[in-house]
């Protein structure tokens, strides 16, 4: 069974992607070739931007089953409307109108059960793509990418995670920002969560929200403080008070930020940053055994 690590943070732009791809890079380079990174930030997937030599291996559609109502069979009884908790079905009997609004549909199947006349069948609609890439000959990057205009990000996350390799040693999930359902979907089956934060008031506030979430769903976690050196010490005080483990602190380097901007984060990594990642990996190895 692979050891599954989710990299998350309430606030956006704290460095989730940087941490996720760096861990992948160092684990692949120094520890194991059997590693996969799954980009679950399907609204804005960025992991691939940092692997210039990635070789595309396969591409799949992420789909959602959307019910379609057959007007010849429909009696306009509106039972399906009553069953649909998401207000996705409109039936207007006087004008023989019956339609499903796919942007509200959750594909729960309730309308199919409701319909006594066999008037509803489901058809797949594309809501995104899932691509697998090979990195440096061994590692696998699996990216979920929401189709622009679709509001079904959580469903794409669910499907991209079905591409998790059963025989990998480590799987890294790069989570979307926030604290709502897409984040829960990403971290739900993780063995461990790394929360990335920054030592600022916004970083702290959003960290507290995410800590509340992880405590509620009972997944063990630790924190990486990114951009250490800027802002204040309140994140440190909070973590100390809550007895939450600090896995590492990655100092803010303007030159490293410039490298990130260019998509070149594996070139000329400052020594102290490399050391931090190595120490973080050692802590993760302890966690995994």
């Amino acid at each position: 069974m692979p050891f599954k690590i989710a990299v998350a943070s309430g606030k956006g732009g704290t460095g989730k992607t940087t941490v996720a791809v760096s861990l992948f890079h160092f684990l692949l380079k120094e520890h194991t070739p059997n590693i996969q990174i799954i980009d679950c930030d399907v609204e804005e997937p960025n992991d691939l931007l940092f692997f210039h030599e990635a070789e595309a291996e396969s591409e799949h559609d992420a789909t959602q089953l959307i019910p379609v109502i057959d007007n010849d069979k429909c009696t306009y009884c509106r039972k399906c409307v009553g069953y649909c908790e998401f207000n996705a079905i409109v039936v207007i009997p006087p004008v023989n109108f019956a339609e499903v609004n796919s942007s509200l549909c959750h594909s729960c199947g309730a309308c199919i059960v409701a319909c006594e006349f066999g008037a509803i069948t489901e058809h797949p609609e594309v809501i995104g793509t899932i691509c697998n890439y090979r990195i440096d000959g061994h590692g696998i990057l699996t990216e979920g990418r929401l189709k622009v205009g679709s509001a079904m990000q959580t469903m794409v996350i669910k499907q991209v995670k079905q591409h998790a390799l059963k025989d990998a040693d480590v799987i890294i999930y790069d989570a979307p920002p926030g604290t709502s359902c897409p984040v829960v979907e990403t971290v739900a089956d993780a063995d461990y969560v790394i929360l990335v934060t920054e030592p600022t008031p916004f970083g702290l506030y959003d960290l507290t929200l995410t800590v509340d979430l992880l405590k509620e769903i009972r997944i063990p976690f630790g924190v990486i403080i990114n951009k250490a050196g800027v802002g204040d010490r309140k994140v440190h005080e909070f973590l100390l008070h809550e007895e939450i483990e600090i896995l590492g602190e990655i100092p803010f380097h303007r030159s490293y930020a410039s490298q990130y901007a260019k998509g070149e984060i594996f070139k000329n990594i400052p020594g102290e940053i490399e050391t931090q990642y190595e120490q973080i990996i050692q802590k993760l190895i302890v966690r995994s055994t």
Binding site: G10, K11, G12, G13, T14, T17, V42, E43, E44, N46, L49, Y83, E85, F86, H106, S107, C108, G109, A110, V113, L146, V148, G149, S150, A151, M152, Q153, P176, P177, G178, T179, S180, C181, P182, V183, V184, A188, T200, P201, F202, Y205, D206, L209, T210, D212, L213, E216, I217, V230, G231, D232, R254, A257, S258, Y260, A261, K262, G263
Partner: protein, 289 residues
């Protein structure tokens, strides 16, 4: 009254810092934090809450163990793998996986399943030194963030019209999924805050593709533009190609974080600063359009 939504695609590009700076500049505006997942605007605006409302989120089902006859009909029909057998051999629903479709509740032959609607989301109407703020606090792991965004926007708009405000300014969520779509729908204009990085550009492209489907006038502000001149150049070319006016270019400046630490807008922190001047000029430019 003009409604302006501030978005970015990528998280952490500076949406909230820029929204709060604008709060210092514009008089006669109502503000609304659309990032209901990880709301931060209140950390700078320091609201005094005047009204509190509960937002009813999705439904969550649970099984009454003593009446359940273990027939398994619910498990067979649940499309979200939310129902499993627990430690003492009884069927149980995982609340984090339950999508709230209530199909299991309808199908249970012995009425052992009931659902409750979450009431763990709150939203507020507050006073601040810059005017009215409508903001929310979502419970951890909640669904329906898009609906909550629509709710706070509806109230903010009502208040903006009633108070004869010149502007309603929405601090938007990251991403391009359901929350972002709810934040864009029906707004009068969008200001994109783009960070000068490879991921900033990638994410802005996807956001613009989304905004294009709504045909809403869009303007851009570049943030941390001096981190990587090459990315900046690429972004400027892209904006030109898309005919999106560039309102201003903000350099990287530690004092943006210092202001946040002090709970002030950058303009309050020091209105003589170059970055304060650039944001003021950007606003003037926007008003001239």
């Amino acid at each position: 009254m003009k409604e302006i939504t501030i978005l970015s695609g990528k998280g952490g590009t500076g949406k909230t810092s820029i929204t709060s700076a604008i709060a210092s500049i514009v008089s006669n505006a109502v503000f609304c934090d659309n990032d209901v997942d990880a709301a931060d605007l209140h950390l700078i605006l320091h609201p005094t809450i005047k009204e509190e409302y509960t937002f009813s989120g999705g439904w969550t089902a649970s099984i009454n163990e003593s009446s359940c006859i273990d027939c398994g009909i619910c498990t067979d029909h649940c499309r979200f793998d939310a129902i499993h057998i627990n430690g003492h051999g009884k069927l149980e629903i995982n609340p984090f996986k339950c999508e709230g479709c209530r199909l299991c509740e309808r199908l249970c032959p012995v009425q052992a399943i009931s659902s409750v609607q979450s009431n763990n989301n709150y939203w507020y109407v507050s006073d601040t030194r810059f005017g009215i703020l409508v903001h929310a606090r979502m419970g951890p792991g909640e669904e329906n963030s898009g609906k909550l965004v629509s709710e706070v926007r509806r109230k903010a708009k009502e208040l903006a019209i009633a108070s004869h405000a010149g502007y309603l300014i929405n601090d938007g969520p990251p991403g391009i999924g359901c929350a972002a779509i709810s934040s864009i729908t029906g707004t009068d204009m969008v200001i994109m805050v783009i960070e000068s990085t490879i991921s900033g550009l990638h994410d802005a492209r996807r956001l613009i593709e989304l905004i294009d489907t709504f045909s809403i006038p869009t303007y851009a502000i570049l943030n941390k533009y001096d981190i990587d001149p090459l990315s900046t150049e690429e972004i400027e070319d892209f904006l030109e190609e898309k005919s999106i006016p560039l309102l201003g270019k903000i350099p990287f400046d530690d004092r943006m974080i210092e202001a946040m630490v002090e709970g002030k807008t950058i303009v309050e922190f020091d209105d003589k600063l170059n970055i304060s001047r650039i944001i003021k000029d950007a606003w003037k430019k926007l008003e001239s359009y």
